[in-house]
């Protein structure tokens, strides 16, 4: 050994110094009002609630709590804008407004990214490189559709729906707002959107951008608030369509409450997606795919690959590599560019996740957690996997929405197809194999709206996203995403 070496390093470790994204350039108001008819207005109740940075548990700002009265004002403004302005705006002019919004978002991308990270707990590299660029690109993509809708639906006349009510979740706050607003506007509708209560800030920044873009007043209205605010949108008589992303439980309530009306609805709901590793898979990339599948955005992804299935021949090697990889994940301040796993979005969600971890342990599953340390303050959950689980374990059946993975092994392709499909959900699935014919066999038999073969958790504005079964109906993104916002005559 000595022949070659210089000084022998004893337990040397090369750790990364903090690399914090600056926050001095941010422009965050102390208090945010509702965005109705092109103006920021106080909520009728005069009530505001705190929005918290989940990494520090500190208050960032205060957000207006919109009521039924405010929703009614917003819907009226949206209806006026639809009848008087937006439905009379030529499609090509509509396109230019949407393009302009996209550009303004790009110009303020860094500010949006940092605010997203502060408000949601997701790591800055993700909001900077994924959420915000994808949100901008979504506007760019749909802008171009505005004057080309006839090409999307051959042989049919395309009409807008009117006023659409949209409710977005907290896991990808701005991106989900973009997924909702961009196609709605391109198809000629006006919008009343409610962001999730824990992550309203970027939607409100988007409201500022929309104001600056000169989009006619009332075409987009943003009403912040809690579930009651959302319910007021769902139940408002003058709304033509509801688009919701969130839990399956709430999705069912929405479908039920609009029964007896002519409202249309699309739902993007929960999932418990299978990520399947075959014995001929590119193992190291598959392990990275497992990590992307479940630890990306702290597992707050409806399409998270939360059920891992590994073929028995490679089970040990995959699990060992996965554990080693988990130990390398850096958990910590989401603003640090070297952080891999950020903060859990809220105290409530952290409790839900911890409850499931307890259930897993109580039901006899074997737990392994990353050796990386989480900060003391803030809402954090260490990446966790459970082995020795069966289909009947609750942690295998129910959506946890956190960095918690269950690992099952299988012997044959038929067995894994059956197990993967054995779920009320059907949002996504991952397949890892080197053999094309095998990939296509699995991809055609898995009941899921998105199949990631030899990759996972990829999103693109041109690519439709949405689920089978209880994962919802309708698609967002791509040509298919337009269908939710048009009437075909």
């Amino acid at each position: 050994m000595a022949k070659q070496g210089n000084k022998k390093n004893k337990a040397f470790s090369w750790d990364y110094a903090p690399a914090l994204e600056g926050i001095s350039h941010l422009n965050i108001k102390e208090k945010y009002d509702l965005f109705i008819d092109g103006k920021f207005v106080k909520p009728s109740s005069c009530k505001y609630f705190d929005t918290i940075n989940p990494a520090t548990e500190e208050r960032i700002s205060q957000i207006a709590h919109g009521s039924e009265i405010d929703v009614d004002k917003a819907v009226k403004a949206a209806r006026r804008a639809y009848v008087n302005v937006w439905s009379k705006t030529s499609p090509s002019e509509r396109a230019k407004y949407i393009y302009r919004i996209a550009r303004l978002m790009q110009e303020r991308a860094r500010e949006l990214a940092v605010i997203e990270t502060l408000d949601s707990g997701k790591v800055i590299t993700e909001s900077r490189d994924i959420d915000i660029p994808l949100a901008c690109n979504h506007f760019f993509y749909y802008a171009g559709w505005a004057d080309k809708l006839e090409y999307a639906f051959p042989n049919r006349k395309v009409e807008s729906l009117g006023v659409v009510g949209q409710i977005t979740p907290w896991n990808f706050p701005l991106l989900m707002a973009a997924w909702k607003i961009a196609p709605a506007l391109a198809a000629g509708n006006t919008v009343v959107l409610k962001p999730a209560e824990t992550t309203s800030l970027t939607a409100l920044k988007l409201a500022e951008i929309i104001k600056d873009s000169g989009l006619p007043n009332g075409v987009v209205n943003i009403i912040t608030g809690y579930g009651d605010t959302g319910a007021a949108i769902v139940n408002h008589k003058d709304i033509n369509k509801i688009a919701f992303t969130g839990s399956t439980q709430v999705g069912k309530i929405i479908q039920k409450s609009i029964a007896g009306t002519d409202k249309r609805v699309t739902l993007e709901l929960g999932g418990k997606s299978a990520n399947i590793i075959l014995d001929d898979a590119p193992i190291d990339q598959a392990v990275e795919g497992i990590v992307n599948g479940i630890f990306f955005n702290q597992g707050h992804v409806c399409s998270a690959g939360s059920r891992l299935f590994v073929q028995e021949g490679v089970a040990d090697i995959v699990i060992n590599k996965l554990k080693r990889r988990m130990d390398k994940l850096i958990i910590g301040d989401p603003l640090d560019k070297n952080t891999d796993v950020g903060a859990i979005n809220s105290k409530e969600q952290l409790k839900t996740i911890n409850d499931y971890i307890k259930i897993g342990k109580d039901q006899g599953a074997k737990i392994h957690q990353s050796s990386s340390k989480a900060p003391k303050k803030g809402y954090y959950c260490v990446p966790t996997i459970f082995t020795d689980v069966a289909q009947s374990n609750r942690i295998v059946q129910e959506e946890i929405f956190g960095p918690v993975l269950t690992v099952q092994t299988f012997r044959t392709i038929d067995e894994v197809i059956q197990k993967a499909n054995n779920s009320p959900y059907g949002l996504a699935a991952g397949i890892w194999s080197d053999k094309g014919s095998r990939v296509f066999n699995l991809s055609s038999k898995l009941k899921a709206g998105v199949i990631w073969a030899n990759t996972y958790n990829k999103f693109d504005p041109t690519s439709p996203f949405g689920g089978y079964k209880e994962s919802g109906f309708g698609r967002e993104g791509g040509l298919h995403g337009l269908r939710a916002y048009v009437n075909l005559k």
């Binding site: 042989n155 739902l267 990759t455 041109t462 089978y468 109906f473 040509l479």
Partner: protein, 293 residues
């Protein structure tokens, strides 16, 4: 001496067989003249359950069948319908249609199957897409059959209402449970005989007669039914349908159309019972050079 006519027994159609309702009940709808149409099976909850089981069993095979083959089978249905045209016309007239309307209804029904037979191996090309994602992946979307569909047919028609809903559903690879017109059930069962002799696999279409009010609840709440298709005008009924469908998020399609019009058929009725599946796969870009072109 006048020959005694042999009367037909109208049974229900489940899994390719013609059982009587397990309940043993029957009802006797009347035509406008007050004549009894027949002793028709009054299906029960259990018949609904059995029909769903049969439809689920048939789904895998039917949805995975080559599109071309599905087209052939739908064309075959039209052929057999054509051959039994007179029987349907007689039944329609007996149930209250004028001769000319009856003839038109049968003709449109036959042509409707021809129309959808042609779509079987084409709709994927129109409804699917290749999506130019910005990353190094090949990405495409294809429509896939939703699954088991509950069909509540137009009460006012005996044949064309049923045909108009069922054809796009099975053209798209789904299987279904059909609640026939309660007051005019004859053609539905005769149509089942057509299906039975047209190479349609057992269980792809299951047809029940009886009280819609009784069957709608077990059908729309059934957790193994993926979608509902309804043609009618009752708003209350629509509400109940949507509310029950929320239990497992059934896709609900409601149509209000004059089915006898020959252009009331289209691609988007197939699309209503399709799920869009999008598949991603990396593209290995060795060298990444365009100089090879």
């Amino acid at each position: 001496m006048k020959r005694l006519e042999v009367l037909k027994t109208y049974k229900i159609y489940i899994g390719g067989k013609f059982p009587r309702t397990e309940s043993g009940r029957y009802y006797t709808p009347l035509n406008k003249k007050g004549e009894q149409l027949a002793s028709v099976s009054q299906s029960s909850r259990k018949d609904v359950r059995n029909a769903v089981v049969a439809a689920r069993k048939a789904f895998g095979g039917w949805s995975e069948r080559a599109a071309f083959n599905r087209g052939q089978i739908l064309y075959r249905i039209a052929e057999i319908l054509e051959g039994r045209k007179l029987q349907f016309i007689e039944e329609l007239i007996f149930q209250g249609s004028s001769k000319s309307n009856a003839e038109k209804e049968v003709n449109v029904s036959i042509d409707r199957f021809i129309y959808y037979a042609g779509w079987c191996d084409k709709y994927s090309q129109i409804l699917g897409s290749v999506n130019p994602v910005a990353s190094s992946h090949f990405n495409f979307s294809v429509p896939e059959a939703t699954g088991v569909v509950g069909v509540i047919t137009d009460q006012t028609s005996s044949l064309i209402g049923l045909v108009s809903l069922v054809a796009p559903i099975i053209a798209g690879g789904n299987t279904c449970i059909v609640l026939a017109s309660e007051s005019k059930p004859l053609c539905a069962i005769t149509f089942a005989e057509v299906l039975n002799s047209s190479d349609v696999p057992d269980g792809v279409v299951n047809i029940l007669t009886g009280s819609q009010e009784e069957m709608i609840e077990p059908l729309t709440t059934h957790m193994d039914v993926n979608a509902m298709s309804y043609s009618g005008i009752s708003k209350n009924f629509e509400k109940q349908l949507k509310e029950s469908s929320a239990l497992n998020l059934k896709r609900v399609s409601i149509y209000s159309k004059d089915w006898i019009k020959s252009d009331n058929q289209d691609l988007y009725m197939i699309a209503d019972f399709q799920e869009i599946k999008t598949t991603w796969h990396p593209i290995e870009n060795i060298g990444g050079s365009s100089s090879f072109y």
